[in-house]
């Protein structure tokens, strides 16, 4: 069992994680940028004199100059020559191929397109959103950062609106517009793809690990723009939009590309700027829910976009954008990186990063995501959703109000960033949430009821599906709390799962849960013990537990908190158990992901129909994938790369063993316990 065994080695890095004084952490004030838009002409705004602040070392150049610099670069030329030699082809042909790749990839930022977007987005955003709130101090910090060093913008990704909004924001504040790494699928959209390209998007294929030429061209393209300080580079650490509103585990490829110029000292420093964008109501909420239930995602197409315009009549509340403190890569790397590997090889040769570097990149990625989470604004509705899900199918309104206030306090104690105006009473807050989310829940006869219309009529299958849809949508909002709550909650869960109160047993259970859920929630790698201590600290702070030398036990009045916290994560525990059970008994020994998802979905579906389980969230393909990934990490499933994707081999005995551990049969690891 790969529990905390890895901890000692990595813990010494003294990883910087969570600030101890979470509640007292000072956060910036927000300003609504739409307010001014509503007062003055959008056209004039779009045509305003735009002279952005730019990087101090920048010598201005056109997008095409960048492309030719990339093609001529030693890096790309080297790979071209290598491939030509290996494939026995003329370098010219490969060079041609590289040019094509670059043309497909490259952006063509034009002020005209930017102005077009500035105009149309003003109109659209004003339709869709009540307010777009930004921390102005963050924008000021960003302005300084952009002038000083190359900047990498790392926003969270919940919606397509993210990158449009961010560019719009930078335009509004007269900052250099970012170039944005976008998925190639956008190019499938006629006109829009090209329009995005002119607004600064560049396009990357979804997977190109094996294609050395593509990799070289892509990496060099990004690095050339970074080195020259051409524009801030923006991409999503999560790789794709999170369908669950829960931060996805980071992808490392692009991050390691943008970090390399610093490793090779081609730039003095690079700023990484975590940006948290949160939506009171997510534009794609129902699409996501369908997708998670296996109704395929519509391909990006222009006509699809036009069809979607009916949502323009809908209200999507407020967006909060928190631009975090720019983080200096140089500071992060100080003392971490051995310089030798980069000094002994010419810098233009492609070099596989050392283990040190890979570990560092991964740590940085997690750190950035944790910063995103820390600054992510939570709306009152998020609290309501969390409470509602624990009290299905309906909850008395007055009780909900009372509980919402209680949860607000708890969330703040845990460092959650709740935007709740001082004078706003609970009733108003909850009611406005209900109005905005009437598609999810409604107030009926003094009770708040989950809106799963059409449940009464239709077949059982239909009922289950509708209900699942409503629950998954509701969960999307609760999920925004989870990463704030995960550490204390897993301690609470461990307390309930462990028969005794002995610290080392609780810790073993915590550590097990942390490993199992390592793809589900964001944990800084390798610091299980610190996470545990953090969880205990927060629970002690809210008087939920007491600790002695050897024991941890809930206080009398804390049992409410403890059971609330564990109930919050119960769907994951149960869901994982169902999925593991499927894997340990119901499946073949070898399968592909394509076979796995429908298989497990059917399995869970049947159980739900029979009423054996109430765990609707286990239908979520996101949870299913995460659970499978966790087993791969734990070594119970082997993942093999085949020509047509991945194949999985299950060690059913090992999976059964892990299942047993949910029933509190977790062996205590002595050496780890000794450090408690």
């Amino acid at each position: 069992m790969a529990t905390a065994a890895a901890a000692p080695g990595r813990a010494r890095r003294g990883a910087p994680m969570y600030s101890k004084e979470l509640t007292s952490k000072k956060r910036d004030e927000f300003e609504d940028i739409l307010e001014e838009r509503r007062l003055s002409s959008d056209l004039r705004y779009a045509m305003k004199c735009y002279t952005p602040v730019i990087y101090k070392g920048l010598s201005p150049c056109k997008p095409n100059a960048i492309k030719s610099a990339v093609l001529q670069s030693e890096q790309v030329q080297y790979v071209i020559k290598q491939l030509a030699k290996e494939m026995g082809e003329s370098p010219d042909i490969i060079q041609e191929e590289a040019t094509e790749i670059l043309d497909e990839m490259g952006h063509r930022m034009q002020l005209g397109a930017v102005r077009f977007f500035a105009f149309t987005l003003s109109k659209i955003f004003k339709q869709l959103f009540q307010r777009v709130c930004v921390n102005e101090e963050g924008m000021q910090r960003l302005q300084h950062a952009i002038q000083e060093h190359p900047v990498v913008l790392l926003p969270s990704h919940r919606s397509y609106v993210d990158f449009l909004m961010l560019s719009y924001l930078l335009y509004t504040y007269d900052l250099a517009l970012p170039v944005i790494a976008a998925g190639i699928d956008f190019l499938g959209m006629k006109i829009v793809g090209e329009l995005l390209r002119r607004a600064g998007a560049f396009f990357m294929r979804r997977s190109f690990g094996g294609n050395r030429l593509y990799w070289a061209v892509f990496a060099e393209y990004v690095k050339t723009m970074l080195r020259s300080g051409y524009a801030p580079i923006e991409f999503f650490l999560e790789g794709t939009r999170s369908r669950t509103a829960k931060t996805l585990t980071p992808k490392f490829g692009l991050l390691s590309i943008v970090m390399e110029p610093f490793f090779k000292r081609e730039v003095f420093d690079t700023y990484l700027v975590p940006i948290s964008i949160s939506y009171e109501r997510i534009l794609e909420e129902s699409l996501y829910a369908y997708e998670l239930l296996g109704v395929p995602k519509p391909k990006e197409s222009t006509s699809g976009l036009l069809k979607a315009r009916r949502i323009l009549s809908d209200n999507f509340g407020t967006i909060h954008i928190y631009v975090g403190q720019p983080v200096s890569l140089r500071t992060l790397a100080s003392g971490r990186i051995s310089r030798c590997p980069y000094n002994l090889v010419p810098r233009h040769l492609p070099q596989k990063p050392s283990e040190d570097i890979q570990e560092f990149v991964s740590d940085v990625a997690y750190k950035m995501e944790l910063l995103q989470i820390e600054n992510m604004v939570l709306s009152p509705w998020v609290l309501v959703a969390a409470l509602l899900l624990q009290n299905l199918p309906a909850m008395e309104f007055e009780l909900l109000l009372e509980k919402t206030l209680w949860l607000k306090g708890l969330t703040r104690t845990f460092g959650g960033f709740i935007e709740w105006p001082d004078n706003l009473c609970a009733k108003k807050a909850v009611l406005s949430g209900l109005t905005l989310h009437s598609n999810i829940a409604q107030l009926v006869d003094g009770h708040v009821v989950l809106n799963d219309k059409g449940v009464e009529d239709g077949a059982t299958g239909e009922i289950v599906f509708k209900r699942a849809l409503a629950i998954l949508m509701c969960a999307t909002y609760r999920n925004q709390l989870l990463n704030v709550f995960v550490r204390p909650s897993l301690v609470a869960l461990a307390l309930q799962m462990t028969p005794s109160f002995r610290k080392e047993e609780v810790y073993s259970c915590f550590s097990f849960l942390r490993d199992v859920f390592s793809d589900e929630f964001i944990f800084f790698p390798g610091i299980s013990l610190k996470d545990f201590e953090e969880g205990c600290f927060l629970l002690t702070k809210c008087d939920a537990i007491q600790t002695s030398q050897q024991e941890i036990y809930p206080t009398d009045k804390g049992s409410v908190t403890v059971s609330f916290l564990s109930a919050m994560f119960r769907p994951f525990v149960e869901g994982y158990q169902l999925i593991f059970r499927y894997l340990s008994k119901e499946t073949k020994e070898a399968f592909t992901e394509k076979q796995f998802i429908p298989g497990v979905r059917n399995f869970v579906f049947q159980l739900l129909e029979k009423g054996v389980t109430q765990c609707y969230e286990a239908l979520s393909s996101d949870m299913q994938k995460n659970a499978l990934a966790a087993l791969v990490q734990l070594g119970a499933v082997k993942k093999k790369k085949m020509s047509n994707g991945f194949t999985y081999n299950v060690n059913q005995e090992a999976v059964s063993k892990i299942l047993d551990m949910f029933d509190a049969r977790i062996p205590v690891q002595k050496p780890v316990a000794a450090r408690l």
Binding site: R265, E266, F268, R339, C340, Y342, N343, P346, R347
Partner: protein
Amino acid sequence: MAAAAGEAAGGGGGSPSSARRRLRIISGHLRGAPRAPGRGALSPSPCKAQGGSAGPASGSIPKKRQELLKWNGWGYNDSKFIFNKKGQAEFTGKRYRLGGMILPTFKEWIEKTFGASLEHKTTSRASLNVNDVPPSFVNEEFLQDLIATKISYSQDAEDRVFRAHGHCLHEIFVLREGMFKRIPDIVVWPVCHEDVVKIVELACKHNLCIIPFGGGTSVSSALECPEEEKRTIISLDTSQMNRILWIDEKNLTACVEAGIVGQDLEKQLAESGFCTGHEPDSMEFSSLGGWVATRASGMKKNIYGNIEDLVIHIKMVTPRGIVEKNCQVPRMSTGPDIHHFIMGSEGTLGVVTEVTIKIRPVPEYQKYGSVVFPNFERGVACLREVAKQRCAPASIRLVDNAQFQFGHALKPQVASIFTSFLDGLKKFYITKFKGFDPNILCVATLLFEGDREKVLQHEKQVYDIATKFGGLAAGEDNGQRGYMLTFVIAYLRDLGLDYYVIGESFETSVPWDRVLDLCRNVKERIVRECKEKGVQFAPLSTCRVTQTYDAGACVYFYFAFNYRGISDPIHVYEQIERAAREEILANGGSLSHHHGVGKLRKRWMKESISDVGLGMLRSVKEYVDPNNIFGNKNLL
């Protein structure tokens, strides 16, 4: 040998012809300094006038160094920067071209660059306080044995303090305001190889510590006595071993005693029509033995080579005995070259006593030159191309904009309206007509040497290349002043110290493709570190590419800042210098190109040459000097 060579402490040397001029002036200045016996007819006599009495000095630098040189700063007593009664900067003395000249814009430059003010002054102690000097402890039996050898010695406080330091900033600071914790107990002046053998034998017999001393221009803390050394420390001053033993015109070699300083070596060889061409910026003061011990590099290495290219044979006295080769040949394949154990050993293995060095006929013609580039990037690209075509002149250096402006500030008062008009015209042409930004442009200085015809041809080739990189020829005079700048800076530090400005230089070597990144990053790091450490004024952080090679370049940094408002400036200074070195290493630069390691840069040795490499050096030390007689603790 601990005596450093190289461009020590910002170097004292200058351009060859100005150096030669200096030499001439200096030789005239030393009123009829008696020639050593046999100097006229060079003879391979084993040892000159035996006897312990401190006879009159025979080289440019006397035995009592303090009579000619500053005790608490760089160079000659009579040469220094001052602000005269009118508040104008002036360089005193007659030794240098700048001597007696008024520098009208210099004051403004200092005030602008450092935020320094003439009203805020610190003054050094006027003279050495003998009472502060640690007492001399010398083993009585050893003293009897030493007297019996008739080798000259001294236990005088001034003599000992003078040999307790090099020219690092912290060492000069201590001289001005404090006292070293540990200094040599006794100074000895051997006059020949045999004397050195006797001294080393006595040291072994009585288990004493020897620290060799050559020119005293070290900038690596190499001369500092280890505080924890309990044994008697003997400072072995080689300055009296300064004869040319023979010149072999057929093979173009000369055998020279290791204590000779650069200016004397060149002066004496010139009498026979030869030169070594080895001109580190410190050549007025640094010694041949010191060059060998630190792996020195000379300004004109493109023609003559660095010390490792120049040396044909080395004789060194070690506790284990004498190490030398059996012949004087251009190259041999007899295992690893033992010379490479000696070169760069920094006085940890023994004393170099005699060196056979290559010589060349004095060149017929010399010409300076300079090129202005629109920016530093273009300049570096040009130097790279010159190196690629292997057509580098005797010296080619590229200074960045800050150093260009500094050079400008050192322009003496113009003699006539006509010259000032010409200067204005030049400036107009470059900045207005050619569009060079005076705050970005940079300058390369050139020195050509050889046959007149070839020099002119060579000059054309280099200027043609420069044109391709947007360079504009900027005249001989600018070139010459550029070289003068190098030796002037060392004197300048003493002036800075009077006005709360401290500074130092350091150097590295780096592959061509990393030159620009390294220069930019190191300068930026210095600026940032200063800010972080509470330095209130932006520092001077400037560099030049000072040597070119096939595979890379040598880069030289100057760094200085105003320390008003900082309680422990030396500590802050050292932290910043250390950060700058870390930055150099992270950018793929070397620990040192020619200053050496000493004690200042020891902490990075392992990283620089690997564990095994360090072990190899240690095992040599253990074999050659098992009792650590040469206990200056440098390098390892």
